[in-house]
């Protein structure tokens, strides 16, 4: 998901640059042909200097815009990475949010309030113990609890979708409490609203 997003963003940036460079050729020929039409040498030189400085300013603006886009991209990427690493953990067979979970969710909520274009999928997961069927309901309850908390925090319900994976997508392998604890979680997928 992250890769796709990155690609989309870099593709958008690339397109912006290409679009700018496409505008360039029509400008230059006109400027170059002008001196030939006007025979006075000094007016030609002045026009050239003026054109040069215009060109420089334009390039500078372009550079600044690219830098701004790059910074924006980096900022968004950082936020998305932050959201995607903000896993919320649960106790065995429980869907209640722990204090630690609530702390993480307030950070998530802050980001979502700051970036109204972000829409998220909350995925609920369980550890490997128990049946596939019951764990589907447990994963769904966990995702739902997270959604409810964020909704109460002010994030619009239409920006959040919940999905249960039950025990099917463990983060950590192994049949020990350490792995189980890692897998009893809810995590986030982020998309950018168009």
């Amino acid at each position: 998901m992250k890769k796709i997003l990155l690609l989309t963003i870099s593709a958008a940036t690339a397109f912006a640059i290409v679009a700018c460079s496409k505008n360039k050729p029509p400008v230059n020929p006109v400027v170059k042909e002008e001196p030939a039409a006007v025979s006075a040498e000094d007016s030609a030189a002045a026009a050239k200097a003026k054109a040069d400085s215009l060109e420089k300013a334009r390039l500078e603006a372009e550079r600044l815009e690219a830098e701004r886009l790059e910074a924006e991209r980096a900022r968004v990427e950082k936020l998305i990475n932050e959201l995607m690493s903000d896993d919320v953990y649960f106790d065995f067979d429980k869907s209640e949010l722990t204090e630690k979970a609530k702390e993480i969710l307030t950070q998530v909520g802050d980001i979502l309030l700051k970036e109204p274009r972000f829409v998220i999928v909350v995925e609920g997961h369980t550890d490997a113990r128990g049946t596939e069927d019951y764990n589907m309901t447990l994963g769904s309850k966990r995702a739902m609890k997270v959604k409810e908390f964020l909704a109460a925090y002010g994030v619009g319900n239409d920006r959040m979708e919940t999905v249960s994976y039950g025990k099917e997508k463990p983060k950590a392998a192994g049949e020990n409490e350490e792995a189980y604890a890692q897998n009893r979680r809810a995590n986030f997928k982020v998309n950018i609203k168009k």
Binding site: T131, E132, D133, Y134, M136, T137, S140, V163, E168
Partner: protein
């Protein structure tokens, strides 16, 4: 084991004495003890023309395995007919046969059931089949022997569907009930799970994550035609097919809870069976499709409940332990099998419909789960990680005679097919009659 037999017997007596128990749609009271009292049957190796060594060397093994898996027979082997061996082994009947060349690449398989004392022919069957179908023909003969000697249908020609990991991804596979003739049904890059047979045994209903969430699909076995079921619900799983009407019970995540729905897979129409704030999951039909077993966490932990098909008269079945799940009603209607978690380990139990007479079928052998009844109610297939990896096993309904039917990979969640006479015709067995 002695204790559980006693309990079973006590239950039978209890049922026989209590007339108020008639609220369940069907009860055929097994005397319980009969399960472990198998019928000895003699087996003499098949005569064969030399050409067929490749197949014929396995003929007796196939029969022996079928008889022993059936939960009805114990095999008394003898290289030739020996009255003394059979009589001493208690085998009142014995089976033998021969394999001959037929036209083309086909073979003629003749199977006989004789009475030991009189040497009377009790049953004879001849099959003209392709060599690859010899196994199916032998299964058919075993079922005819069961019918002859027990007056009941056997399960040797039934099938199992289960979940197998292929390159790390859970896929649905289908095989003969004994684990042979395995075919992979799904080839997705996303998880497939929870297979259930449609009433006609022609399709598998299962859960696919191809759209990023759990959703029910139905796939035809012979055409691979596929469609999504109940698309008006976004997340659906735990399918259970009504053996009489083909209606499907399933769990759907809707709003804040998971609830059991009842739907018609053809029209897509579906409705909530019972309203309530607690989660409901893992529905299962009674043999005649009038009542529903399900799991609810309304007491704080998953426990098994039963209710009418219309959602009426819900009552709790399990009270022991704090994790009882995935109940399945026996085809005879008298007991349920379910999975219970204790100390982090899953094990299989059966109990009466009122929750009494609990018998633990598996213990001290890893995790044991996903029990599914054979259509004759004699056997339970399940998955276990006792060997270090998840494999499919079959046991008798009293927990004895555990036999592994898969050997490698990761195999879980078996679901037994229904009886299906139409299906048997498709195996292209030309029964010549006798």
């Amino acid at each position: 084991m002695m204790l559980s037999k006693l309990k079973l017997f006590a239950f039978a007596v209890f049922v026989a004495c209590s007339s108020s128990f008639a609220l369940i749609d069907t009860i055929s009271v097994d005397v319980g003890i009969a399960v472990s009292n198998t019928m000895p049957i003699g087996l003499v190796p098949f005569e064969q023309e030399a050409d067929f060594e490749a197949i014929s060397s396995k003929l007796d093994e196939v029969l022996k395995r079928d008889f022993e898996l059936s939960g009805r027979f114990s095999v008394v082997e003898s290289p030739t007919f020996k009255m003394v061996t059979f009589v001493r082994g208690g085998a009142k009947f014995y089976v033998t046969g021969k394999l001959q060349k037929a036209e083309g690449s086909k073979v003629k398989l003749s199977c006989y059931l004789y009475a030991t004392q009189t040497k009377d022919l009790v049953l004879g069957e001849a099959y003209k089949v392709a060599q690859k179908d010899v196994r199916a023909a032998l299964h058919d003969f075993v079922d005819k022997v069961v019918k002859q000697l027990w007056g009941e249908f056997g399960v040797a020609s039934t099938e199992l569907a289960w979940v197998s990991k292929v390159d790390g991804v859970k896929q649905i596979v289908v095989a003969d009930y004994d684990g042979y003739n395995r075919r992979q049904l799904t080839h997705d890059t996303t998880i497939s799970m929870m297979p259930a047979w449609t009433k006609d045994n022609n399709s598998i209903i299962y859960v696919s994550f191809r759209n990023g969430k759990a959703q029910l699909f139905e796939r035809e076995l012979y055409t691979s035609k596929e469609r999504r079921l109940f698309p008006n619900k976004s997340q659906t799983f735990s399918p259970a097919v009504n053996p009489k009407t083909g209606e499907v019970l399933f769990a759907a995540i809707h709003g804040n809870t998971t609830t059991v729905y009842l739907g018609d897979p053809n029209s897509g129409a579906n409705h909530k069976v019972m309203y309530g704030r607690a989660s409901q999951v893992s529905p299962s039909w009674s043999p005649f499709g009038t009542e529903i077993l399900y799991t609810s966490d309304r007491g704080g932990s998953p426990q098994i409940f039963v209710m009418g098909k219309d959602g009426s008269d819900a009552r709790r079945v399990t009270f022991m332990g704090n994790y009882n799940e995935r109940a399945s009603w026996s085809p005879q209607g008298d007991r349920i099998v379910y999975t219970s978690m204790d100390g982090g380990k899953m094990n299989i139990y059966t109990c009466a419909i009122d929750g009494s007479d609990i018998v633990q079928l598996t213990s001290n052998a890893g995790n044991n789960e996903h029990p599914t009844w054979s259509p004759d109610g004699m056997l339970i297939a399940f998955s276990s990680d006792r060997s270090g990896s998840h494999q499919i096993y079959i046991m008798r309904k009293d927990g004895t005679n555990v036999t592994r039917i898969t050997n490698s990979g990761d195999n879980t969640a078996p679901t037994w097919s229904w009886y299906s006479p139409e299906r048997q015709k498709q195996i292209s067995i030309q029964n010549e009659g006798w």
